[in-house]
Symmetry: C2
Subunit: 424 residues, 2 copies
């Protein structure tokens, strides 16, 4: 069910760059991975495990001249009969920087041995709640982050779900607002607001009626969404942490589809896409996060924290660069509050480069990156500067929740792809 | 076409409060309008001009015991045959704090005499581009801001459109990116990017190819949207400025529908609603801006600028207040990046009151206000504190653009209302 078809570039590029000339990077990634040359790789380079490539086939898959389409071996079956195809995106990088994973896991209560160990796989133990995972990781400026995420993100999600396993096992009772200190095993819920306040809280009596009577009901599904959102953040933090010990190059968009207990969750941080095809109708399951779609969020950050723009960029958007000779004239602009355009008198500050610049696939954040969510990129700086891009990027996915198993399995096809050229 | 039906409260409230007990204010508005008692009113209190109430009818309309439904006089016709009805919202305030306007104006180039004078009405001069305006201003904590906006917002929009009048008169040519210093009359567009850079800009030559070839095409409609967005900001700034000389109490949600050159623009800052009824189908023209719908925007501001929370509030959302005795336990939470919920260990900081608290119509920003966009409220503070609410409120509307004149006039009805109970 997964089909991954890469853009076939219409023209070959003569000289190959070893790194850093991915479409996301306008300039080469200055400062990215600096000082990491001597560190070992966190994971060796490879193609997705489920392709099961021999060293010869792995070498063959990197041939820019032939650019073979790599698919599953005849007879290989991924879960749910998922399909897969990829081709190196000639001209952008020496190696294919994108990764994918397709895993069946089991959610269990964390045991002392396994707790906080995301490296543990299931080792054939099929007890617990089954979890089906598909992931696509569209790498840029190196493949390190994409490889690491393809190896670990599903395990982080599984372990996060393990922490609420006792709640998943009681799907008909609403999750408690408050848990005991150890979190698990589940203890009695904290007393509801209408009960008398504890004597420890001197404020409690006087305005208990205002403050304590309300208690929101939180659904089990929104807890699963919270686990997925948190897992992306944990994955991103882990990349940052392990960069001190390993060479983990670049960054990646991350798209994960998670099937759990009859429901499909699709989490997207970046500009990959997941669609459902149902009765020949295409149902988008994701929104894309780009400098254009997230313009106002980024401008708002630049407005509130101008120091992040390093005195080189302006958070105001203009339809083109302003020339010095145009000072005092009036030019169209948009700030973080606007959807329409208005004229403003050009002042010296407006000559700075716009934080968001360019249109469509050429739109960039600080002239550097064309996508605004994903994992990694902790060292990514604006070319020839000390301005970090990372504060403007978000590692948190948007999670959508739509289909029940019956609908999905019997009448629909789920397609997940990075940079879709065509899907079938 | 405008129908305005207020919630009929199902039970009368015994004691009336003179001010400040609007549904938007949880506590009474501490600090609001402080020191303004001795200032004259900017505009006298009244009901919308088009109701043409006599002093006796005005007095009658304020009777809480009878709460008459006030409608247009028999034989009165608003533009487009618009309708109107209102009733005082018994128990919330002494006077009806909501206002409305329905105006036909004409957009002309600004002349020296009229420039920057938003108080000028058309005085029967019907030259220029016709503009039909409907506005609803749902006031709270006083009627001053709502009255002022109902008198002036349409004129600010008209004058803003006057500044681009020369562009509106040439609807088939794309608006120029850059105008001469005086802005008007229209001069030749700045040279396109492909021309050689001026010698004044030493940076220009080296990366001209990167920076200067792109120029966005901006539509005339997005200029009109920009004028409307800017006008709301100007209206809000004017209220703030004139508060130094006049008593202008409270704040208001603002919803404006503007018909110009065959297109309808609906601008909404608050929780009022505009709908189109077409073939008995209801088409929403607005989204509502409430603590729940704007939760993540507000939390993000509180996260980036914690000083605005005055050490009293936390930007993290919890499903209920936390008791001191629960320190160290785990509680569900959401931060500004999350849609789902997750558990966190409760620390001292989490005992602060949540920035966003409550559900549905009871949701409040800093326990004070139930709406997150609008005009006015510059002095509004958290009860018994020096924490201002205004930084969390936005005066900028969301502008939608949908229908052509033919569709709208022949087959549809536009209904604009504050706190809709029922519409017909």
């Amino acid at each position: 069910m997964i089909s991954k078809v890469k853009n076939a570039m219409s023209n070959l590029v003569g000289g190959m760059m070893p790194h850093g000339h991915h479409h996301h990077n306008h300039h080469s990634a200055g400062g990215q991975n600096s000082g990491q040359e001597s560190l070992p790789h966190r994971f060796p380079y490879g193609r997705p495990d489920f392709l099961d490539l021999t060293p010869e086939l792995l070498q063959y898959s990197t041939e820019h001249a032939s650019r073979p389409v790599v698919t599953l071996k005849r007879g290989t079956r991924l879960s749910w009969g998922a399909g897969y195809a990829e081709a190196i995106n000639a001209g952008k990088s020496m190696l294919n920087e994108d990764q994918a994973s397709c895993e069946k896991l089991f959610v269990r209560k964390p045991s002392g041995k396994h707790r906080n160990s995301t490296l543990v796989d299931d080792n054939g133990d099929t007890t617990g709640i089954p979890l089906q995972f598909w992931g696509v990781f569209d790498g840029h400026a190196g493949s390190g982050a994409a490889i690491m995420a393809s190896k670990l993100l599903h395990r982080i999600i599984r372990d996060g779900l393990g922490e609420i396993c006792h709640l998943l096992e009681n799907p008909n009772s609403a999750p408690p607002i408050c848990l005991a200190k150890n979190g698990s095993p589940f203890q009695a819920e904290a007393k509801k607001g209408a009960t008398p306040e504890s004597a420890e809280d001197p404020d409690a009596v006087c305005d208990a009626s205002v403050r304590f009577y309300m208690e929101k009901v939180v659904s089990l599904e929104s807890l699963v969404m919270g686990v997925i959102e948190t897992a992306f953040k944990q994955m991103d933090d882990l990349i940052e942490k392990e960069k001190t010990s390993y060479a983990i190059s670049g960054g990646c968009c991350a798209l994960a589809a998670i099937y759990l207990m009859g429901k499909l969750y699709v989490a997207n941080a970046g500009d990959s896409r997941a669609i459902i095809i149902r009765n020949n109708e295409v149902i988008p399951m994701t929104n894309e996060f780009t400098p254009e779609s997230e313009r106002q969020r980024l401008q708002y950050l630049g407005f509130l924290r101008p120091e992040l723009l390093g005195n080189e960029f302006t958070h105001i958007e203009f339809p083109r660069r302003i020339q010095h000779s145009e000072l005092g004239k009036k030019m169209l602009y948009r700030d973080h509050t606007m959807t329409g355009w208005a004229y403003k008198t050009i002042v010296e500050d407006d000559l700075k480069f716009p934080l968001i610049y360019g249109e469509g696939k050429k739109a960039r954040v600080m002239a550097t990156i064309g996508v605004t969510r994903g994992l990694g990129d902790h060292d990514l700086k604006v070319y020839n500067s000390n301005i970090y891009i990372k504060p403007f990027l978000s590692c948190v996915p948007e999670v959508s929740l739509n289909f029940t198993t019956c609908q999905l399995r019997l009448r629909s096809h789920l397609t997940v792809s990075a940079r879709v050229a065509s899907v079938s």
